[in-house]
Subunit: 287 residues, 2 copies
């Protein structure tokens, strides 16, 4: 390991840090409602996340090598999907891919990331749509007027993307108010960068910090994946319950057991944690 300005920098490459971020994210325990080291669902298990992180690596390598974000993301998703648990890290990869490209380009900052996502093209959007053909992802119905661009159409929607000249950034912008990952894309990954500072400021095992930061993010805003799979009311309850744990009025492990029982998975918040772990690792978080 090399020490630069008091910060420990390991010899890991950008893509290796992204893969490690995926693995550390799921290692954070407890992480109420999501798969963690001590909780899993019968059909979505810890081991599926291990295999997902192994498979995603080629796409992350592609992004680090300067390939376009859309195709790199599609490769990552296709590799991630090579296990029997289904969608493990689709959202996390959607956060990580542009951040990997930004870091490999030596400009890992909110403005750097913002510039990278604004450079995306219609071809990136087409690859993003094709990625939905590799794995089932729970998504909302599209807003009125955007039915032809329903992501569930996969590559069938590509002619419509071209007709409307929609770049991947435009696609994200169109769902930024209903999807927490898309919201990051259009805000310079604001919450991801903020949470990376929380990770760096804390001490102790990284997995514990990831679990704590997850709870803080969860308490700050409703998780859009919960809105999609359940409803806004449930997402707001989840947010309040997370805040209660932070206030000392509840136990994180009890909450984790309850959310798993109720099949409430705040997956978008987990995606943001994966992104913030990556940024923190790039900035010297020591594992």
């Amino acid at each position: 390991m090399v020490h630069v300005g008091g910060v420990t920098v390991t010899g890991r490459s950008v893509a290796q840090n992204a893969q490690l971020a995926l693995l550390l994210e799921v290692s954070g325990t407890p992480k109420p409602g999501n798969v963690d080291r001590e909780r899993e669902y019968d059909d979505l298990r810890f081991e599926h996340f291990m295999a997902g992180a192994v498979g995603a690596r080629s796409g992350l390598d592609q992004a680090a090598a300067g390939d376009s974000i859309g195709p790199a993301f599609e490769t990552a998703v296709e590799g991630m999907a090579g296990q029997s648990g289904g969608n493990t890290q689709f959202g996390a990869l959607l956060v990580l891919t542009p951040l990997v490209a930004t870091a490999a380009d030596g400009r890992l900052s909110p403005s750097g990331a913002d510039a990278v996502v604004r450079e995306t093209t219609v071809e990136d959007a087409a690859a993003f749509y094709r990625a939905f053909e590799h794995v089932d992802v729970a998504v909302d119905d599209p807003p009125d007027g955007l039915e032809p661009l329903d992501v569930r159409r996969g590559s069938d929607a590509v002619p419509e993307l071209r007709a409307r000249d929609m770049a991947l950034f435009d696609v994200m912008e169109s769902s930024a108010d209903i999807d927490g990952v898309a919201a990051e894309w259009v805000s310079g990954f604001e919450r991801v960068f903020e949470a990376s500072e929380w990770l760096l400021d804390r001490s102790g095992p990284v997995a514990n910090r990831a679990s704590e930061v997850f709870l803080e993010l969860l308490a700050a805003e409703p998780d859009t994946f919960v809105v999609t799979r359940q409803d806004r009311e449930t997402a707001e309850e989840v947010q309040e319950r997370a805040q209660a744990v932070l206030d000392g009025d509840g136990d994180a492990t009890d909450l984790a057991e309850e959310f798993v029982r109720r099949d409430i998975n705040p997956g978008t918040t987990a995606d943001l944690v994966a992104g913030s772990l990556f940024v923190a690792l790039e900035r010297g978080l020591d594992v």
Copy 2:
């Protein structure tokens, strides 16, 4: 995923399967005495194994690409060591590297692996010795007359290796009676291949199978890492206690808690499990 002759074969490469084997090994819980998903040591944590598996990948890629086993192993160890927990997977990589080379060569069988390790050279042995400079590994004193070849001498021992014309296979042969991984090298990886069949024959989550197979291997022979760090008496007690759990006279989780408390880590048995997971994945173990 492609189905060949009833066996599910994912699109993972040989090196990806080896990396996944490292991750699944540490995901097996309980695994009495070793780091698992629910137990860790203050200075050797689950997250260190995640980072170790990420870092080891370049060396595994090297072995899969047909590079010599010694240098590939050294690269894997150097990458594995890029985390603050110290030695996480040295022994597992010593099992995996020749198996990866064998699998990449399309001859993954005991006789194929035997042929591969017998082809190793003095240069492989030199790289193996250099690998000890990247990380602290608990080892026994060398047998009488082999002090100049103490692995703890690292590259200082290389002239002696050359003088004696010792290939890596010869080095392993010289410690096969005191080291369970070396014993695999000189026996066509007999226990690894046998345990891979146990993994394939069982059903249920792979992490559970890994934990069960760990216990079976532990009950079958004394763990040489326990002999090294404690003594033969302790290793035999560990073996008996594992057998008692298999016989229904004890609980695996209680045993795990006790061994962690007593700092008894049957690490060699874990190395064999990593190897057997790799062979099983190559042979179609579905994750």
